[in-house]
Amino acid sequence: MYKVSATQLTDVLNTLAGTMDVFLPIRKDGQTNFGLYAEGVQADFDTLKTVKPPKEFFLPQSESLYKGVVDGKDIHIEPAAFADRPFVVFGMRGCDVLGMEILDKVYLGEPVDRFYEARRGHGCVVALACGRPASTCFCKPFGVDASDPQADVTAWLCGQYLYLEPVTERGRQLTHKLEPFLQDADAEDVAEYRQEIRERLEALPYNNLSLDALKDADMLEVFNSPVWDSVCDACIACGTCSYVCPTCQCYDIKDYNTGDGAIRYRTWDSCMYSDFTLMAHGNPRKTQKERFRQRFMHKLVYHPSTAGGQLSCVGCGRCVNKCPSSLNIVKIMKSLGVS
C-alpha cells in the first residue's frame, strides 16, 4: 500500500492526465457527474454518488456502430473504430464496480461485444472507499464492502492522505506512473477509517436487508403476484431509474440520416418506455404494469436465474434517490417479501 499527500492530489491527477484520459467526479450546478479531468478542474470526491453511473465510460449512452451509405444498388458499410485511448475512471464506488462486473457478464459473454471489450481493455478503475455512505445505500446485501472496494486500484481518502492499494496488474502499472509522489504505507493506516465506515453503514436503514426471500424465487409465482397490480400506480413511465442504474444494460439501435448516409448507433434504452417492445402488430407489454414488472423481474428474478443467483442490482440507491414518484427497487423487493 502507498500513500500520497492530499496536497499533491492535483499533481497526481496531472501526471495521470499526461498519459491517459482521466475521468472523475466533478460538481456542477449542485449535481455531480463523472467528467474529463483537465488542469484546473476541481474533483469532487465528497459527493457519494454521481447522478449518471460511471458505466458510461464502458457503455456510452450513445455510440456509433457504423456508417451505412446506400449508393444506387450498392451499400457501403464503414464500421466505427474501437476505443484505443487508455483511460482511468478515478473514484468509482464499490457498488458501481460491482455494476461493471454484472455488465461484463452480459457484454463479455459470447458473442463478445467488441466495442465494450475495447473500452474495458483500455480502462483502469480506481475505486474509492465511501467515507460517508448515505441513507439510500444498501450495497452490503449484495456483497459490496464499501470500506474496501475492489477494482484495479483501491483508494481511501483519509486524513491528509490518499491511500492507494493496487489490486490488479493494470492497477500496479497505474500506481507505477505515480512513483515520484508515493510514500509507503500500511494497511493499518486505513484500518480505523475502514472501521468508521463500517459503523456508519451499520446505522443505515437499508444496510441489513435480507435478500433470502428472493433466493430460488419461483419465476411464475413472482410474475403472477398480485403485488404488480398496484405497486406501479405512481410510475410516470420515465426512464430515470434505468438511466441512473449502474446495471441497466438494455440498448436500442437506431439510424440517423445525415443527408450523406446513415449513422447506425446504439443508445441506452429503458424497458419502462412504451416503445421498448412495440412491434408492427402490437405490443406484448401493453400497459405500464407489464413494463414496470419487466424491469424488476429482470433485476430480481430473470437475471439471477441465468447468472448463478446474482441479482442485477448493486444497492447504489440512485433509483431510491432520483425516482420522481418515490418508487424504487427496495420498495419492490420489500413487497416481494424482503425484510
Partner: protein, 276 residues
C-alpha cells in the same frame, strides 16, 4: 484490423424477388460475391437491414440444403418491410446472422413422423424445415402438412406446395382457408377445427407456427387429440435489436427469444410467463 463486432453486418445482394401473395414477397439473398452469406440450420434467423431505413429479424425461409442462396419471405407490415417491398433485384441489402436455436432436425426429429401446422406467413420458418426433411427424405417418417390462411390468395408458396410437396413420398398436404370463395374446392374453416377433422394419429412430432391466437387454439386441439406438449415445437417472435442476447427486449421471462429461441418446445413455453 481486429475482428469486427457481431453488430456489423455483411453487405449482400437481392438476386431475385418472387411475389407470393399481395403482401408477401420472397427475397433471394446472396453475398456480394455470390453464394450464401453464411451457413444456417432450419429455424434460425438473420438480421436484414437497409441503412437509414432500419434493421429487423427474419426467419430464413430456405433450407440449409440450398447452398446457393438464402430466401426470406417477408410480409409488408412495418417501416423496413414496406421499404423492402419497393426494392428491386440487384439491390444491396445488409445481413448478419445466423441467430437463434434451430429446430432439432438432426436429433430429436430424425426418424419421426412429422406434422407441420402453419397459418398465414407462419409457413415461412416452417418451410425451411419441410424442405430440409424432403431433401433428406429417408431420415424421416411420414410428413403431414396442415396449412391455412385467410383466403386462397394469401396462401404462400402455392406453386411449391402444389407442384413439389404434394408429390413427395409419404406426404400429405392439407390446405384450408377461412372463408369460402369462388374457385376454391378445398376445405373451408380455421386451422384448429380442420386439424381435428383429419383423424391424425398422436404419435407424431409437431411443428407449429402462425399468429399467436392460432397457435393457442391449435395447442388446445392437439392436446385434445392426445398429443403431449413435449411433442410440439413452435417458433416465436418478439421485437429484437441485437439478435445476440444483449439488448434485452426479446425476453419471455428469463429466456431470450433471439438466443434461447426462437424455437421452443411447448412444454418449455408453459414454464414461462404469459407475455408474448
Amino acid at each position: 484490423m481486429c475482428m469486427p463486432d457481431t453488430l456489423i453486418p455483411e453487405v449482400g445482394v437481392i438476386t431475385s424477388i418472387r411475389d407470393e401473395t399481395p403482401d408477401v414477397k420472397t427475397f433471394c439473398v446472396t453475398s456480394a460475391t455470390g453464394g450464401k452469406p453464411f451457413g444456417h440450420k432450419p429455424g434460425q434467423c438473420a438480421m436484414l437491414s437497409v441503412p437509414g431505413v432500419g434493421e429487423a429479424m427474419f426467419s430464413i425461409t430456405s433450407s440449409p440444403t440450398n447452398t446457393l442462396y438464402m430466401e426470406f419471405s417477408v410480409k409488408r407490415c412495418g417501416t423496413l418491410t414496406d421499404y423492402m417491398h419497393t426494392m428491386q433485384e440487384g439491390d444491396g441489402i445488409t445481413i448478419r446472422g445466423p441467430y437463434g436455436k434451430p429446430f432439432p432436425v438432426d436429433d430429436v426429429l430424425r426418424g419421426q413422423d412429422l406434422l407441420f401446422i402453419a397459418g398465414g406467413i407462419g409457413l415461412a420458418p416452417v418451410r425451411s424445415v419441410i424442405n430440409y426433411v424432403f431433401d433428406k427424405r429417408e431420415d424421416y417418417g411420414s410428413v403431414d402438412i396442415v396449412y391455412g390462411s385467410r383466403s386462397a390468395g394469401d396462401l404462400v408458396f402455392r406453386p411449391e406446395i402444389e407442384d413439389t410437396w404434394r408429390s413427395r413420398p409419404r406426404t400429405n398436404v392439407y390446405l384450408t382457408i377461412d372463408r369460402p370463395e369462388e374457385g376454391w374446392s378445398g376445405n373451408v374453416g380455421f386451422v384448429p377445427a380442420y386439424l381435428g377433422s383429419l383423424g391424425l394419429g398422436c404419435d407424431k412430432t409437431v411443428i407449429v407456427c402462425g399468429p399467436p391466437v392460432m397457435i393457442k387454439f391449435v395447442l388446445e386441439e392437439l392436446v385434445k387429440l392426445g398429443f403431449k406438449k413435449q411433442q410440439i415445437y413452435t417458433t416465436l417472435e418478439l421485437r429484437m435489436k441485437c439478435g445476440i442476447g444483449k439488448c434485452g427486449r426479446c425476453n419471455i421471462g428469463s429466456k431470450l427469444v433471439c438466443k434461447d429461441g426462437p424455437v421452443f418446445r411447448c412444454d418449455e413455453v408453459d414454464e414461462l410467463p404469459d407475455e408474448y
